[in-house]
Amino acid sequence: MAAIIEVKDLSKTYATGTSALSDVTLDIREGEILALLGPNGAGKTTLISIVCGLVTPTGGTVRVGGHDIRSEYRAARTLIGLVPQEISIEPFETVMNTVRFSRGLFGKPADDAYLEKMLRDLTLWDKRDARNTELSGGMKRRVLIAKALAHEPRVLFLDEPTAGVDVNLRREMWQVVRELRENGVTIILTTHYLAEAEEMADRVGVIDKGKLLLVEDKARLLNEFGRKRLTVELSEALAELPDVLRRHEVTLSDDGLRVSYDYDTRAERTGIARILADFAASGIAVRDLSTEQSSLEEVFLRLVEDNA
């Protein structure tokens, strides 16, 4: 897939001397959902703020749809929509006028039919004449998305879209994002909820201390960095492991009812087959068994710890 955003050697040092980004290079493919993960202060917001024009970089280049964000800022910015972290909307204006303003600001001719479809998709149409101040928190977040989409951008940045929102609303936001992707919008979301990246993203970028540690397909990332755990539940509690199982790196739970074994999914021989054979040979009655993939959270923590 072609890159819609090309970030090259991007750096930002603030006037205070704080280095927020150093030499970040990243290609974002058209039509994907890219999650930028990182702890607070890692540089995620700085990166998207530079691409969107809120922060001036100290070095490097960014091209959006082939247009340089500084020398061809009009063409570049027309392609971008930004949903900021904070809920910032004009409180006394109506929803419809708010999105009309956003569309006009980005240089698009009035098109109430498009805005109607967009507001319907975001289940805001019934509230089109309500003032923003009368809306619930979830609706305000959707108005922010509507503002960002009002000029039909090809790329949408969502900066911590679900920070501080409840579980239902978070699922609702995820659904909205999926539908946008189905409509061909490229989505870049920053988050420190790993579950969000795991749920949503096609690719995951991990940023820490201003450095992009990696960008990888989510599945591959989990696979490459992931470990699996095999848990064998026993019918009867064991006081201790029989010798035949001790040669494997297995652990017995305190209650003696579970034996677990961690293995690397990348290894040529995972050892599972031999362990299961040894269980059968030792005559231990197995009640159930399960495997569990390590989460993105563990992958992420491992990467960030390595960068420390």
Binding site: V55, T78, G107, K147
Partner: protein, 253 residues
């Protein structure tokens, strides 16, 4: 040019004005009526005509200027400060719009509001005093130039301000005293020579003088000097705003 951005900002700002139209208009109209009652009827009757113009009529241009300067500055400063305060400024800064398009939108709306209020005050004054406008074209010209210049100043104040207190301080501490001392209620020639010299250092004197000339054909300073003063002030404000957008001062990090 992204004129649609300018139009969007202009419409959005004017909508704010029309949402609160009665408050927007009532306050300046009531103050003007009070000035007419106090200075026109109560005190004005005891003050002799100034260079052949009845005192009640003489103060009309000054009164309009007083309101126009305050309104231009406060409308424009609030217009750009409010998005900063509530955070919606991000949208302006990420839009494919240049500073010229953004400034024309905000300043155009602020100036339009001030002009509408000036026209309402002017209409109100016809109820109280006998008024003839000697040079209507120049009156409109001075009004537009002044509202635009001071809206630009207001825009700068709105970007500079970090709190509502700072937003208020320039109109209260600078603009109002300059208008009162700039001959809103008297002619500079009525002052003793020393204070007349001091008054001539006040830039607002040139605005009021020029505006009054457009009404009564009499001025404290030559009308060309007044025009030049407005022009210099306008150019100064445009330069400062250009610098602000060029450097991102108080806007971009």
């Amino acid at each position: 040019m992204n004129w649609r951005a300018t139009a969007a900002i202009y419409r959005f700002e004017m909508a704010r004005f029309f949402r609160t139209i009665w408050q927007s208009l009532a306050s300046p109209v009531i103050s003007t009526v009070l000035y007419f009652v106090v200075f026109g009827a109560a005190i004005g009757g005891r003050i002799q005509a100034v260079e052949g113009v009845a005192y009640g009529a003489f103060i009309v241009p000054g009164l309009i200027m007083l309101t126009v300067l305050q309104q231009s500055v406060s409308n424009a400063s609030f217009g750009i400060y409010f998005p900063k305060f509530i955070g919606t400024i991000y949208e302006l800064l990420t839009a494919p719009a240049s500073f010229i398009e953004i400034v024309i939108g905000y300043v155009g709306a602020a100036a339009t509001k001030a002009i509408l209020i000036a026209l309402v005050i002017l209409a109100t004054s016809f109820f109280f005093v006998d008024l003839h406008i000697a040079h209507p074209f120049w009156m409109a010209g001075f009004l537009i130039l002044t509202t635009v210049s001071f809206s630009l100043l207001g825009f700068i104040i709105g970007i500079w301000a970090k709190s509502f207190e700072q937003l208020q301080i320039i109109p209260l501490m600078v603009i109002t005293p300059l208008v009162f001392l700039g001959g809103a209620f008297y002619s500079a020639s009525m002052l003793p020579p020393f204070w007349e010299g001091v008054a001539r250092l006040n830039p607002v004197l040139y605005l009021i003088s020029g505006f009054r000339w457009s009404f009564f054909d009499l001025a404290d300073v030559p009308v060309g000097v007044s025009l030049a003063a407005v022009g210099v002030f306008l150019a100064l404000c445009i330069t400062v705003i250009w610098f602000i957008f060029r450097t991102g001062w108080r806007l971009r990090e």
